[in-house]
């Protein structure tokens, strides 16, 4: 399964819904999407990975890169993720301490 991305606004946030596989081959497309949102002045992002089948370290790198980018504009990048399979990867790499990780988009929005 390939990567697919869809973006929508909710309150003051841009929600990027990702599905498929974020890997060393597809991650550049996620990076481009994040870069484009930031360059259009969206600095409060929520990346919903609930429908992601696979995430590797390149994908994590792109998310961290996105976080650094929005932070330089005093923005935020939160993750929506409930699957153990993916949470484990954030945990192993210590990124649970770096990202806000929420059960739902609403919970991510409410946290601000």
């Amino acid at each position: 399964m390939d990567l697919s991305l869809s973006t929508r606004s909710q309150d003051d946030f841009e929600v990027i819904e990702v599905s498929g596989e974020i890997d060393v081959y597809t991650a550049p497309r996620l990076r481009e999407a994040l870069v484009e949102l930031v360059s259009k002045g969206h600095h409060n992002l929520i990346v919903d990975v609930e429908r992601v089948e696979f995430l590797d370290s390149t994908g994590l790198g792109v998310l961290v890169g996105g976080l650094k980018r929005v932070r330089s504009h005093d923005g935020s990048l939160d993750i929506v993720c409930t699957h153990d399979r993916l949470l484990k990867i954030f945990r192993i790499t210590g990124l649970t301490k770096v990202f806000g990780i929420f059960d739902s988009v609403d919970a991510a929005v409410a946290s601000h």
Partner: protein
């Protein structure tokens, strides 16, 4: 039926160094892992670890314009499942470094290559990770101990 000398599930996959092919390496490892009775979270670990090791190998081949394929050896017994990824970059162990996507990679004292994020992840996914480099290339061997079959 006469058994061959090679172990039943020995699989060897040579992939052109194309990022699109990393998925194939994951696919094959997962399929062979299933033949060995691996499932659930351990199968997710195999999928991710193989993806990491192969992604790393393909990037290295690309960045160093190496025409050789990346080689994946998958093997297993009743006790253990292993995947070995071989990239063919000649490591200048003297110089102790190699460019990977612009970030510096350290060659450790025992000849291993260290890309911090990749190997941090591998260490958390496989029961054992063994990395060896020499002038002909680098092998990353990942091993998983299989639980005794329930009966």
């Amino acid at each position: 039926m006469p058994r061959t000398d090679a172990p039943a599930s020995a699989v060897n996959l040579c992939l052109a160094a194309d990022l699109a092919n990393v998925r194939l390496a994951r696919l094959v490892s997962v399929a062979v892992g299933r033949l060995h009775g691996i499932d659930g979270p351990m199968l997710d670990d195999v999928r991710l670890a193989v993806g990491e090791a192969c992604g790393r190998a393909v990037l290295i081949h690309n960045d160093n314009a190496l025409p050789a394929p990346v080689v994946i050896d998958i093997d297993g017994s009743a006790e253990e499942f292993s995947v070995t990824v071989t990239s063919q970059e000649p490591v200048d162990v003297e110089q102790r470094r190699l460019e990977v996507r612009g970030s510096r990679v350290e060659v450790t004292a025992n000849g291993g290559l260290a890309i911090p994020e990749t190997f941090a992840l591998l260490g958390g996914l496989a029961d054992e990770v063994d990395v060896r480099s020499d002038a002909s290339g680098t092998t990353v061997q990942m091993r998983w101990r299989l639980p005794p079959p329930a009966d």
